[in-house]
Symmetry: C2
Subunit: 457 residues, 2 copies
Amino acid sequence: MERLVVIGGDAAGMSAASQARRLRGPDELEIVAFERSHFASYSACGIPYWVGGAVPERDRLIARTPEEHRARAIDLRMRTEVTELDVPGQRVRSRDLESGAESWTGFDKLVIATGARPVRPPLPGIDAPGVHGVQTLDDGQALLDTLAGTRGRRAVVVGAGYIGVEMAEALLNHGFEVTVVNRGEQPMATLDPDMGRLVHEAMDGMGITTVDGAEVSKVLTGPDGRVRAVATQDAEYPADVVVLGIGVEPETALAGAAGLPLGSYGGLLTDLAMRVRGHENIWAGGDCVEVLDLVSGRERHVPLGTHANKHGQVIGAGVGGGYATFPGVVGTAVSKVCDLEIARTGLREKDAREVGLRFVAVTVGSTSRAGYYPGAAPMTVKMLAERRTGRLLGVQIVGREGAGKRVDIAAVALTAGMTVERMTALDLGYAPPFSPVWDPVLVAARKAAAAVGAAER
Amino acid sequence: MERLVVIGGDAAGMSAASQARRLRGPDELEIVAFERSHFASYSACGIPYWVGGAVPERDRLIARTPEEHRARAIDLRMRTEVTELDVPGQRVRSRDLESGAESWTGFDKLVIATGARPVRPPLPGIDAPGVHGVQTLDDGQALLDTLAGTRGRRAVVVGAGYIGVEMAEALLNHGFEVTVVNRGEQPMATLDPDMGRLVHEAMDGMGITTVDGAEVSKVLTGPDGRVRAVATQDAEYPADVVVLGIGVEPETALAGAAGLPLGSYGGLLTDLAMRVRGHENIWAGGDCVEVLDLVSGRERHVPLGTHANKHGQVIGAGVGGGYATFPGVVGTAVSKVCDLEIARTGLREKDAREVGLRFVAVTVGSTSRAGYYPGAAPMTVKMLAERRTGRLLGVQIVGREGAGKRVDIAAVALTAGMTVERMTALDLGYAPPFSPVWDPVLVAARKAAAAVGAAER
């Protein structure tokens, strides 16, 4: 009987294990999965909403318990860390974090799904009590405990990416005065600065203070050793609690030490079937891999649960003797801060320049519903299209209710390599409660098509 | 100087006129437009929401007044009906409906945008006071007057298509007891019956009585001559007010009499630049034309404001010396009844069979947001894919908030000729407030891809 070993018991790893189990029963395939934390198969993306109170209980974020996995004949070993990967020997060394016991486990097939680790710059004071990451359920619980035990009501969020802005909302919900300290020119560095500025303005309107262009130099502590402020080169921001939302890096120390191929972002490199390049029997997926960006043609690190789940399906099919591939991403993301919806797909101006594309960029204002329909909310759509070909390169959206998921229109069009001219005639759903007669994305496509034409004259 | 004559002053006609004016100034092109009603350039799709009270004032539905058009050097003649079209003589005869005066106007270029007329079967009593269509602003006002002046609170809506269900909601808002009498097997004949059944059940839950398989045979009147009931073969439904929502037909009597080419639905046939086939200088657009259905390869009649506006742009470009085409539709539509969202694109099972396609059909249940996120609402997605090729053929969605506009994902995928297998890897926007980690459309695509595979084994 063959043995599959899975390193990492979250989205990618356990999706792969489950899908492999569906295709090959326990008589054919033994499955052993190692997870170092207390939890498997949970939605890390849901943590800001649990911390913020929208999701009432931690366990709502757990898609499947260890017991449920075990009931499906997956030998999931919790609190067990894989400490060494011996590729030629086809075995992994693991340590039981409770007992400290170590042992080797051989594999015929291996899935690496070690995820990502939060960036935590080695700043003075960064490990002080009151400074929190929000990567895991344990992190979330620790932060909730701090929020409940803190009299002061000043919070600083370091970083203004997705996690940063989502945590700003969560802390607002707890009645904190929130300051977001952000290294970039504007919040949401995944947007162009002009669109990030709209996010900044909207956050102002919500009472969130956003400080741009500010690099944190240290975390200051009080006499009790707890955090009291965050310092940049220029200023100090008093803080009773600090949340780090600086981003994540692929967790590939193990794979790197084993000599597996890593890309420029430090993520594992795979083929389209999610097999680690050059290794027939090792797959990798989720936040520890780099993925092909179909628009730029380059590998990128895009840590998102939705990709991890897809990777897991593809890997499980491969391990189980089926066939599936993950063709790549177009870079779609959507988020919200209170009622502000933020979405993007494809390339920003800077991305397009980096890969040598010449483009036009247009921005339009429109509304989410017919202007006369109640709840019609303003939204701004920015669209990039390649010169000469008119091919869609990217879309960014900032608006209110109904704005964010419109990015899917562009995500599909990007995948199909559609031109903005063709997009002007897209047959999108129209009725006054759902859209103006020209959907905002169509309005942007019309302007982009005109700009492409003008640029070639 | 050339003269452009436009017959019909609503979406298609006035978009065409405006776009032509943008491209060619009043020194180059004279524009005369005839409109028989009291209104130009208004949103007919908004009438149910105005009648239902969501839109407070009629004038909110008017995109541009006659005066605004005239200020842009468009000679818009209101309450003037074109009664004859002389194609060889390049002229139209019109009658001023106020004075009765008739005259001929020559044209170098002609745009036919005569719209659609509601189907009004020649049933006994159908013209009785209290029986209303809802095609025009005048119709809407007349219905509102009736609603205000009626003591009784029983309403019957004839027809359960988009207008029918939207009017059911509008009448509920006025406190009426609403019965929808529907000829089809289920409401929403633009859906397959299994999906229509979900609409029926949801309407039950809203307190709307839906009678399926019921053909109206007459309208019964009381001693005062006003409507008192609607009769089918089997039953009578007491009614203080009756709203007809049976659908519309292309208004092409004028064009037909002039010998212009009509299709099997009675709509004008055009080329891709929206020129009437065989006529270099005559264009047609909006509800009076048939359009190419890109999925079935057949001409269809799809009266929708969003198409009419696109036609107008394309026609205006052509008249103005530019270049644009309308490639066709994929049959996307979205609507709602109270909080139920209903959407469809592409082919139903019956449509696919009619054109000889073999297909698989799958249905999945999912939610609009992550299951643990507040407001996650159930939705049902049905997907059709071609056997052998796996090409997407159609999608139908019934759900609550966040369900309807997801149809756009499928509309773009249909336009691109995407397979359901490719769709499983679409990079759609994911965050817990916006979608489960597998978007419902992806869940359907996975099931459809599996069914395509199974069908070929």
